[in-house]
């Protein structure tokens, strides 16, 4: 026992190094697995307020472009309203209902294999995990951690991200993931080879998950190829969103999410 203690005291630097290094490694390995990297992240109070302070300065730099984006969206929505023939159709029983919360992006990254965003809405604004995040142009990601005033978004530009999407023309659905290469191109998989495809086809959300409502734009088909076993497509989808420059986003809350969750649990 005495010798053991002596050994530790003699090599205390090495022991401390080993401890800290292995702790850091374990954190790294956990961060590469989805749904396990939730402990300390950029949605906590301190980092959130630091990003917030800095953001209040830098937001002025993109005002022009943000105004243009908002104007475009207004224009599109107004056109829709003016051209509506009937009154707004009543929601059918089967359809979910969605609430939208506007929010600002405090921190964004796109150069890493696992990218996250930090938003300025949190539990106090009734934001919870698994809510979807979109912009006026397309999807951004899914909220995966929240604190009182901030939340973290698992970006579609994250190798752990999986979003259920479909081809607008043919309604075939598949999974959207990212290979970590280009921040403009994501990959759509699990579409069978007998589906007719052409470059430029629109990809939208499928609505089969409770996170996103159906028919939110995602991107357009850039190119496609068969996988190794020649039975499924790997489709490169060019995102409508410019992920490098995000400022105003919407958080989507599915008001039926609790009911759906209990249903899924009771089925299991």
């Amino acid at each position: 026992m005495q010798q053991l203690f002596n050994f530790f005291i003699k090599n205390k630097t090495f022991v401390l190094f080993l401890l800290l290094f292995s702790y850091a490694l374990s954190l790294t390995i956990q961060s590469h697995e989805y749904h396990r990297s939730k402990f300390l992240n950029s949605s906590n109070q301190i980092t959130g307020s630091v990003y917030g302070t800095f953001h209040s300065i830098t937001q002025y730099f993109n005002l022009k472009q943000e105004n243009r984006l908002l104007l475009e969206e207004n224009n599109r929505l107004k056109t829709k309203v003016f051209n509506q023939k009937d009154s707004i159709p009543v929601d059918s029983v089967l359809e979910y209902k969605y609430d939208l919360f506007p929010s600002l992006v405090y921190k964004n990254s796109y150069a890493l294999p696992n990218n996250y965003l930090t938003l300025n809405k949190g539990k106090n604004d009734s934001i919870k995990e698994d809510y979807g995040v979109i912009t006026s142009k397309g999807i951004v990601g899914i909220i995966d951690a929240t604190s009182k005033n901030y939340s973290r978004v698992l970006s579609v530009l994250n190798t752990n991200s999986r979003v259920n999407v479909k081809l607008k023309k043919t309604n075939y659905f598949g999974t959207l993931s990212w290979d970590g290469k280009s921040p403009e191109i994501t990959q759509l998989k699990d579409i069978q080879d007998l589906v007719k495809l052409s470059v430029g086809d629109t990809v939208v959300t499928s609505g089969y998950s409770s996170t996103f409502p159906p028919n939110i734009p995602v991107g357009s088909v850039e190119s496609f190829d068969l996988n190794d076993t020649k039975d499924l497509y790997i489709i490169d989808v060019k995102l409508f969103n410019n992920m490098k420059n995000l400022e105003h986003v919407y958080i989507i809350k599915n008001t039926d999410i609790n009911e759906l969750k209990t249903l899924i649990i009771s089925n299991e």
């Binding site: 630097t13 850091a24 990297s37 150069a111």
Partner: protein, 168 residues
Amino acid sequence: MNNIVLRTILSFIGLVLLQVLVCSNVNFLGEINPYIYVVFILLYPVINNRLLFLFLSFLLGYTIDIFLDSGGVHAAASVAIAYIRPLFLKFSFGAAFDYQSIKFSNTDFSRRLIYFLLLIGIHHLILFSLVIFDETKTVLILRQTVYSSIFTLILSLLLSSLFSKKET
């Protein structure tokens, strides 16, 4: 003594803010970012409590990790270069380094360059191996390491010369 403690704390906070608010948003040519916070580890006083130094390096890396949502990659890389630093001090500045306190500002530029280059290179290699975490993408890891190292090296040499001027 108090002066050194205060300077260490201030440079810690300053470098973290500089890193997460400015340097991580550079994205030069789409993906190249400098990791300037390593200057803290490179220029930490030579005569030190090694345990405290290791712990501070870990804390620095971990703080960066929390800000950037990167798990523990910066913490691992920082602790690693903090641990092997004495070896490289000996290699770059000669064996006499631990008998007399070296002021980094008084050393030769060429020696300082070698010292910076080696430690930054190792730091970035560990960092990108862990960030990319895929043995099939070795070329990508090496490419990112080289490009980012050059970027970090230039910035850290500038930053260190800036601070050494203040001293005199």
